[in-house]
């Protein structure tokens, strides 16, 4: 699904106050259209007077956050089994703490496990992009040097 950045922009405070990472409202709107930021990442939007806009924006981006609209794919043919995804995924570190210190995962409670030389996603539903968390996490993709992981 695609969102129109202009439509999102029109609901922002349009002050270019630089309080967000994007620094300008247009840049922020573009990022929001891609799902990289959420309405709540704009601090002025959370202040009095913007309740309606905030609500509208949330409605607009909600479909992007739903289970159907996000996904993560791992191409085993590109994977070197380096274990970067296992170590960097916050879910893995929470359910099997030694992975956070670089150890190979074994519990099978993690999102990723390196098995027979390649990484596999064994608990996709635990990924924090999906409900209930719906976080805009993509660190596994960011640190997969061979681009074996793809997130949308």
């Amino acid at each position: 699904m695609k969102l129109n950045p202009m439509e999102l922009y029109n609901l922002l405070p349009k002050t270019n106050c630089r309080l967000c990472e994007a620094k300008t409202c247009m840049a922020f709107a573009t990022k929001m259209a891609l799902g990289d930021v959420l309405p709540e990442d704009c601090p002025p939007l959370l202040e009095k007077g913007f309740e309606k806009n905030l609500e509208k924006l949330r409605d607009l981006v909600a479909p992007m956050q739903s289970a159907e609209e996000t996904g993560i794919k791992l191409d085993e043919s590109k994977c070197t089994g380096c274990g970067n995804c296992v170590v960097v995924c916050p879910v893995d570190v929470a359910v099997e703490p030694p992975t956070g210190r670089g150890k190979a995962g074994r519990s099978r409670d993690t999102v990723f496990i390196v098995e027979n030389g390649v990484s596999k996603i064994i608990n996709l539903e635990k990924c924090r992009r999906f409900p209930p968390d719906r976080l805009n996490c993509r660190v596994c993709e960011q640190y997969c040097c061979t681009d074996a992981i793809e997130i949308w």
Partner: protein, 410 residues
Amino acid sequence: MEDVVCNGCSLLCDDVVVEVTDGEVHSLGLCRLGHQHLLSSIESNSPQASTRESGKATEVSIDEALERAAELLLSSERPILYGWSGSTNETITLGLELAKTLGGIIATPANLGMTQALSHTLHSMDLGIDLEYVRNNGELIIYWGSDPTESSHRHPSKFAVLPRGENIPEGIESRTIGVVDVRNTETMKMANHRLIIPPGMDSAILEALVSEISGTSSIASDVAGIGPQELIGLARNIRKADCTVIFYGSGIINSGNADANLSGLQAFIEAVRGIGKQAFALPMAPESNIMGAIKSLSTDASTSSITDIVAGDFDAALVVGDDALVELPGSAAKALAQLPLVYIGPPGITSGKARVSICITDDVITGIGTMNRLDLVEIEFKQWNSQKEERLAEHDVMARLLELIRKEKS
């Protein structure tokens, strides 16, 4: 599943498990390279020996092959004993004794580059930290002319980039990563600082960083095509970090400027230590026991470099564990192929060309002996029992060969 130690590369991972049921191999934690190595070690594990006369191979018993090998080596005036970078420390010790007994020369593939690097004054600078220390303290990591994504797959996830450690509470969030290379490498995807430089310009970059870090002068224009902003930014982060570690690889060693590069690294470490911060440089090399081989062989005066093979200094060769005819540069491989050859190791091209060839069981399966990890930490193999089939350890073959030759000599 059982604990094993992987010898697929010099990281010698010991946090991995394996199970073999009905010929199906199942591993957890092994990277692609390690799993492939395990599979091929299991597949090719059929201890056997052969001799070859004018191109015709005959299968023989191990005893017969050992006798033929002893004969061939004893009749040589000056044999070269080559390989060892994938052998256990115990096997290397036997190799050294055999070289002494035969009056031969012992050499490893690393003789040219890495041995030189390790004997450079850089390595007299108290660099004795291990990879666990890097995990716990390495705040600024630079892969310089080394590419772990290519050959030491788990180096970033286990030790240097992603894991959390005592003083690195947030893992990657607590570290800054740099990569310096002559091309865009996959490892660069993880880096905050990516420096692609022309070949041979490493020492120029190091020099610029040194002046910026020590505050003697500030970088005002491009150095080796890298803009001043980028270099000043990197220097600023190095100044900020409590502990900087450079992992240098073939790009530093085999670029033709090894000496200048290593001196540059030394000056860099001095500069960072000069501002009261920790700094270290550690080598990167993939062969499983390259460090053990260098350590053992560098104490021996009768070691040699592969260039001597080209010069035709030898009249016979024993190759142990290294598919030398594939891995050596063309001219050296050609010279080696012309010598009467004894080969001990896994099956490969060299085993198919040698006059005497003994195919052994890989140490990942025998699970006996020790190797030195990349940071020189000694790792002991673990025995595991799912592999019940026939085994013939490289170490045992070497021990029997040494015994035979000693007996003949006395």
